[in-house]
Every structure is written in C-alpha cells, then in structure tokens.
Symmetry: C2
Subunit: 193 residues, 2 copies
C-alpha cells in the first residue's frame, strides 16, 4: 500500500511538473492543477502544504529526471565526453517538440521568480549548481581518460557548457529553423572536439 501511495504521489508530481514547466509558476493556478491531477484542494494542501510546496517538489522532480537522463547518456555513449554531448544535443533538439516548454524548467524559474519567492528562486539556483557539478564530474572522467586537453579546467568548462545549454534552449524557443539549431549546437560544442 505504501508503494501504491508513493506511486500516486510521484504520478501527481509528474503531472504537476508538466503544467508548471509549460506555463510557469504564476500562470499556473491551483485550479489548473486540481483538474490535471484530479484531486480536490483539501487533499492537495494536505499533501503538499501550499502551491510553493508543490512547486518545489516539481523542481526536484525535474532536476532528478535530468540528472538520470545525463547518467543514461553517459552509459549509452562510448565516452564521458560523448555522453555529455549527447545529453546537450538531446536537451536542445528533443525538448523542442515533446517537452512542455523548450526552455529548461530551472532557467524558466530563475527567469520568472523574484525575491517575492526567495526560497523557490534559491532552490532553482541550487539545482542548476547540482547539474553543473554533474557536468564537471564527467569532464574530470574525460580528462582522466585523456579525451580532454589536460590544460582545460573541468569546472570552468562545466560552467561554459551550462551557458551553452541555457543559451541554446532559449534560442531554440525563439527560433524554429532546425538546421540553424543543429549548426549552433555544433558551434557551441566545438571546443569539446
């Protein structure tokens, strides 16, 4: 029974993530969420406390899913560097058609929120840092394997890749030309060889 309840909760969080990701924090009303997850206000507030509480859980869910996908990319590839490139390429091109919003949900969140929701803002920043660390770990592995120029600083390169990923996804949301996007990915990841 615990399993079922947990499954339900995860299912609810997943559906809420889709909504928040698509419409953002402010434009998503609790009534939108009630409809999508088929729960009444009382149950939602008993489970998550508030709209902010639910949103924070969706941020965690989003980040965890992203990290899992990064691991999957690394395992599916012949090298850490190829895994990283695959992850970034997938994130940019894949999320264009399937994902709720082309944008990264964490970037969307730090873009939308202000000090009025200070802890949500801080949490999104923190999670972006976690992802950056995961990039750095893969880059260290690549360096150890000799796939990466030993003069490069993995942490600096991880920051650079974050910039590229953020920029590419934002650009892809503003521009529809697939060929241009592909060329931009090539340019952005060129320094990885």
């Amino acid at each position: 029974m615990v399993n079922t309840a947990k499954q339900d909760r995860q299912d609810v969080i997943q559906k809420a993530t889709g909504l928040f990701w698509e419409k953002g924090f402010h434009a998503t009303s609790m009534r939108n969420i009630q409809q999508v997850i088929d729960m009444r206000p009382g149950s939602i507030y008993a489970s998550f406390g508030s709209k902010e509480g639910l949103f924070k859980e969706t941020l965690h869910h989003y980040a965890h899913t992203g990290l899992a996908r990064l691991d999957a990319c690394a395992e599916a590839s012949s090298s850490p560097l190829e895994g990283l490139k695959l992850f970034i390429t997938e994130s940019v091109t894949g999320s264009r058609k399937s994902a709720p919003s082309g944008m990264c949900m964490l970037v969307k969140t730090i873009s939308e929120l202000t000090h009025d929701n200070a802890d949500l803002l801080a949490e999104a920043k923190r999670l972006l840092g976690v992802i950056e660390e995961a990039f750095a770990v893969l880059l260290v592995q690549a360096k150890e394997r000799g796939e990466l120029d030993s003069s490069k600083d993995p942490e600096r390169l991880a920051r650079y890749l974050q910039v590229q990923l953020m920029g590419l996804r934002a650009y892809a949301r503003a521009n529809d030309d697939d060929a241009h996007i592909d060329a931009l990915i090539e340019d952005a990841l060129g320094c990885l060889g």
Copy 2:
C-alpha cells in the same frame, strides 16, 4: 504640448518597462503599474487599451533601447567587432547590478509566455530577430574591414552570439561569482579573436 504629452507617454512606458522587466508579465498587476506611473485605470486604458497593449509597448521600448545602446557601443569602439564585444560584455556585467532583472527582457518574455498570449510571444521573438540582424550588420562590416575571418558566415555568427548572450545572462542570474562570469565571457567571445 504635444511634446510634453509624448514625453509623459515615454516616461510612463519607461517606468512600466522597469516593472514588467523585473517581475514579468503575469506577476505584474495593473495596480502595481497604476502605483508606479501614478495614473488611474481609466487613463491607462484610454492610452494603451489593455495590459497586453501596454506590455507590447514596453517590449518595443526595451528593444529600441537595446539597439540604441548597440549603436553607441559601435561608435565608441575602434571597430565593429570591438563594439559588439563591448555590447555583450556590458549587457552581461552591467545588467547584473543596475537592471531590473539580470535577464534579457525579451528572453524572459519568450520564457514566460505561452500560446495564451500568442501575439506578445510572437512580438518578442520578432524583436529578438531584429537584434540578431543588427549583430549581423556589424559582423558584415567587420568582415569588409578584414577584422573577421572571411570564411565565417556573419548570419551564423550572429546567431551564435545571440546564444552566447542569452546563455551568459541566464547564467549570470543564477550565479553571483564575478570572476567566473568574466571568464565565461572570455570563453564565449573567444571565437571573435
């Protein structure tokens, strides 16, 4: 009198731009705006028609200001390429402390809005395209002067710079370390020489 009225209108739009830029479209209420621009609802709606109408004018104001600043950077620099680099550097580092939000207002808008505000979304995309064109114009000038490798495609490079600018400003919003930002700008603009 026409001049005064126009000045007033520009002043109103400028103040509204600051609010929308900081808080975004949905989180900014018409009452917030009434307070900041010191006008009553009737006057605002007589002047701008709707919240969307006012927001669209602030988008234009923002883009126009950005283009003017790009021109100023180009004139202040010894070359088109240096002007472009100055503009990007200024946009990333300057907007960190002074601007309402570290983010580009146009990127923030395409990040926040969905098909529910289709024309505002389209307008923000269009204005980003205008800015990209202005980048391309400067790059063509740089190419003619021989400052840019003749093998480079100015339009592709303009798209690349848009990605860098979007990514850098988003990253700067998530991360406070000035030294890291400076290094990232260096990495991002390295291809310009």
